[in-house]
């Protein structure tokens, strides 16, 4: 409720509404830093597989999902059928279903056009930042859209750049390969605001490692997250009266 009434006030005051662009772009910088080396690497790979820069850019624009783009290019050069590539893309990106569901709890009653625009930019990285900002209460749909589109633009540009001349850019400079891992570490820390969250995160991480080893593909991410969150909810219900298990956060949102 508080979120929505504030966002309406911002639309009424032009002096504040110009701030959402800057804030959205600023919040995106760790993502941009992380996307740059991955986008360049993807561009180089795609160019070696025989894709022209405009074909690389078109894929980044229409698909905008890093890991599945890598997989698609690898499958294309190994001669896989188009149907197989599309099905693989679907399973690799299905995890966004969970992220979109979680984000929906913050976007009650927003215009559907805006929600559809926002949905295009849901990635692991933008989800993680948008969620922690929404939860802290200083964020809204407009800022989230700007953040998503900024990340998208950097991804698009870096993949095209990689396709044009990425082989001349040194890899591994300044530890930039670690930017996204470090970002995820900090965003995970933001999530750990009670014992239920810590328990869920430990379970999810452990399950993900085990499932990733015994199970090919990317299904381990969804499976581990669903199992861990389910156990977490059960644990929370059991020990709800125990103050050690943190504040009940579910009710704050609405």
């Amino acid at each position: 409720m508080a979120l929505q009434s504030r966002s309406r006030r911002q639309q009424a005051e032009p002096s504040i509404s110009t701030g959402f662009l800057r804030q959205g772009v600023e919040a995106a910088w760790p993502i941009c830093l992380g996307y740059l080396p991955i986008g360049l690497a993807f561009g180089v790979l795609a160019q070696k597989a025989g894709l022209a820069p405009f074909e690389i850019g078109l894929m980044s624009l229409l698909v905008f999902a890093g890991s599945s783009q890598f997989i698609a290019v690898a499958m294309l050069s190994s001669g896989a059928s188009l149907v197989t590539i599309v099905m693989t893309t679907f399973t690799v990106n299905l995890r966004h279903l969970l992220m979109s569901s979680a984000l929906a709890t913050y976007f009650k009653g927003h215009r559907r056009g805006k929600l559809s625009l926002f949905a295009y930019g849901i990635t692991d990285e933008s989800f993680a930042i948008n969620w922690s900002r929404l939860k802290s209460g200083d964020w809204d749909l407009e800022r989230a859209i700007v953040l998503n589109q900024t990340a998208n633009l950097v991804w698009l540009a870096s993949t095209i750049l990689g396709g044009i001349g990425g082989q001349f850019i040194p890899a591994k400079a300044f530890g930039i390969d670690y930017a996204l891992i470090a970002m995820f570490i900090c965003l995970l820390v933001y999530q750990l605001s009670g014992a239920v969250y810590v328990l869920t995160a430990i379970l999810a991480g452990g399950l993900a490692v085990i499932l990733a080893v015994i199970w090919p593909g990317n299904g381990y991410i969804i499976a581990a997250a669903v199992m861990a969150a389910t156990i977490g909810v059960v644990a929370k219900r059991r020990w709800l009266n125990n103050p050690a298990f943190g504040p009940s956060t579910g009710g704050e949102k609405r």
Binding site: S77, G79, T89, M99, S101, L115, A179, G232, K236
Partner: protein, 109 residues
């Protein structure tokens, strides 16, 4: 490239559609409904779960074969990076510190 341009465009449209629909459908439909409390609680735990499920395999599994390994620089750099994140709660600082530590670790190894 073994595909023609029209085939490639068709592939991109299909890939785009199967990627966009899971991103779009929940936020589009669920944001209009009153969700039951257990589902709200469950969705509230999903970010912690999914971030951890994305992160930990990156730190302890190596290569395409996903061999378990405790000696990866990714893992050992993560420890001070995690402590820095807990202490400062600064996203930008954590990214810079993590990068510099990883850079240093690669120079040493």
């Amino acid at each position: 490239m073994t595909v023609s341009l029209p085939d490639y465009l068709l592939l991109l449209l299909a890939m785009g559609a199967v990627t966009y629909i899971p991103r779009w459908a929940p936020v589009f439909f669920l944001s209009r409904r009153q969700l039951p409390q257990w589902l709200v609680d469950w969705l509230d735990l999903i970010p912690a779960a999914i971030l951890s499920a994305l992160l930990l395999p990156e730190l302890v599994l190596r290569g395409d074969q996903r061999t378990f390994s405790m000696v990866e620089p990714e893992l050992w750099v993560a420890v001070p990076t995690l402590l820095f994140a807990i202490k400062t709660r600064s996203l930008g600082g954590t990214v810079v510190v993590g990068m510099l530590l990883f850079w240093g670790a690669q120079k040493l190894l």
